[in-house]
Amino acid sequence: MSIVAFIIIAIFTLTFALAAATNPRLMHAALSFAAMFVGIAAFFFLLGAEFVGLVQIFVYVGAVAVLIVFTILLTRRDPEKDRGFNWGGVIIAVAVFGGLLWATLRSPSVTIGPAIVKALTVKQIGEVLMTHYVWPLLCVGVLLTAALIGALVLVMEDKPQ
């Protein structure tokens, strides 16, 4: 059952990932990217990590995809222009793929099956966030505040004297 689900989700995710990478129409690529995020969230559900899966949809489909879509909207479009082969992109892609592969091979293997996960409580999440992961949390908080202030400064009007 879960193997079948895994294969279906894998095909779904890979199809949309490929569409996101190859579709020449930027908006379609961005929307395929959003669908790919849903596929990844489905993987989390399959592994029993309900909270992570929901956050994946919440943050990536609800916020990041909207951000990407807005970026496309607010930048110049010249879809027909051929920019030549993008060697920088290839290097970055190979580096990221190598890093992920290395991390995946190093991690202990997990058998895909009905995951046994305890019912997750908000208290557990809160405690872990406030003790073990407090520094990353604070760093993210500072970063987001800086981004918010930066955005405000960018759009602030100069007051006429």
């Binding site: 959003a34 956050v55 489909v61 609800g62 208290k123």
Partner: protein, 377 residues
């Protein structure tokens, strides 16, 4: 049954049953509400409202439905066909999914998920993408402007909407809607229900939540995205026939979902308001509370004029957001003061101070001269 059928079959059949009941109930309610809203608005505006089809015009939705189904489906020649087609489907799907985690009565939650509240908002945040797809896919400047407005207001009000839910989650200690309802089942002195709306932070959070809900479902007075006097119908401009009806349906289903969540979080879910009224079935109480909230939605629509975009944004970032954070602090104070009368008063004091301070600092009288009216003599 369980001895004979395989478990995956039971799972699938029970899910399908849940979905069928959910769709049946809420699509019927949608049809009823569409005629009731017109009747109520008519009553408020001193006219009759629909009264031609059936007794008191009650069969109006049937006539409307047939009309919508047989109308020509027009797709603009320059539209992005796929995106234009997918947008109404996605928007309706998200609205229906959000309805799936609300407890409608005792043991009547269609899909029990531990992170039900998170699921609700995760699904709800997908609506923004769907609205954008509608605006972009139509390839029309009114549509795109409407979609941009819709996304701007949805993102701005999503913050207060979610932050006002946090105090409840914090006090209950769970993201599970059933546990949140369960936490509100007791009564003070045997008659005063344990609902969160009766605490100062709960009342404030409820009002903020309701206003944010009005915005999220694009209802008057926050229906700037479809301001028909400026941008035709916003992201729905290029939709006709049944696709337009789908958007309309999604708006109403979204309204049901937000009201249902408000009932669950603040109004005690399906619990009776008085202990000796517990013999009335739980779902009756849930839908009674839901109808009251939906009526307020309609009442507000019949009463208030549309706000301007800048007024709405200022209101979100300068008033709603600080007040939402105050609810969080106030709920923490209430909890640590022992959830008793002293905690109640402390939490009330905090909210009163912040409210007064905000209303002093955000005084708009300094900026605008009083409006003067001139009439022809």
């Amino acid at each position: 049954m369980s001895g004979h059928a395989p478990s995956w079959l039971i799972q699938i059949v029970s899910s399908l049953l849940n979905i069928a009941v959910l769709l049946g109930v809420f699509l019927t309610l949608f049809a009823l509400l569409s005629v009731l809203e017109r009747k109520i608005l008519g009553r408020m505006q001193n006219r009759y409202g629909p009264n031609r089809v059936g007794p008191w015009g009650l069969f109006q939705p049937v006539a409307d439905g047939i009309k919508m189904l047989i109308k020509e489906d027009i797709v603009p020649a320059r539209a992005d066909k796929v995106v234009h087609f997918l947008a109404p489907i996605l928007i309706a799907a998200t609205a229906i999914l959000a309805l799936g985690v609300i407890p409608y009565g005792r043991n009547m939650t269609p899909f029990v998920i531990d992170g039900g509240i998170l699921f609700f908002f995760a699904v709800g945040s997908t609506t923004e993408l769907a609205v954008f797809m509608a605006g972009w896919g139509s390839n029309n400047k009114f549509s795109l402007l409407g979609a941009m407005r819709a996304i701007a207001q949805m993102i701005s009000y999503e913050l207060p909407l979610i932050i006002t839910v946090l105090p409840v989650v914090m006090v209950v200690g769970s993201l599970n809607p059933d546990k949140i309802v369960f936490a509100q089942k007791y009564y003070y002195f045997g008659f005063l229900p344990h609902w969160f709306v009766l605490t100062p932070w709960g009342a404030t959070a409820f009002i903020l939540f309701f206003v944010s809900g009005l915005v999220e479902s694009n209802r008057t007075p926050f229906d700037v995205p479809e301001g028909e006097s400026e941008i035709v119908a916003g992201h729905m401009t290029e939709y006709s026939g049944f696709k337009y009806a789908t958007f309309f349906m999604a708006e109403y289903l979204g309204m049901f979902a937000v009201s249902g969540l408000a009932v669950t979080l603040f109004l005690g879910g399906w619990h009776a308001p008085l202990p000796w009224l517990g013999f009335i079935p739980s779902y009756v109480w849930f839908f009674a509370k839901l109808s009251v909230l939906v009526f307020i939605f309609i009442w507000v629509r019949g009463t208030l004029p549309r706000t301007r975009v800048d007024q709405m944004m200022n209101f979100a970032w300068k008033f709603m957001l600080p007040m939402a954070f105050t609810c969080l602090i106030s709920a923490a104070v209430w909890h640590y003061a022992g959830r008793r009368l002293s905690g109640w008063l402390w939490s009330f004091a905090i909210i009163a101070i912040v409210y007064l301070a905000l209303s002093l600092f955000l005084d708009t009288r300094k900026k605008f001269a009083p409006r003067t009216y001139r009439f022809a003599e």
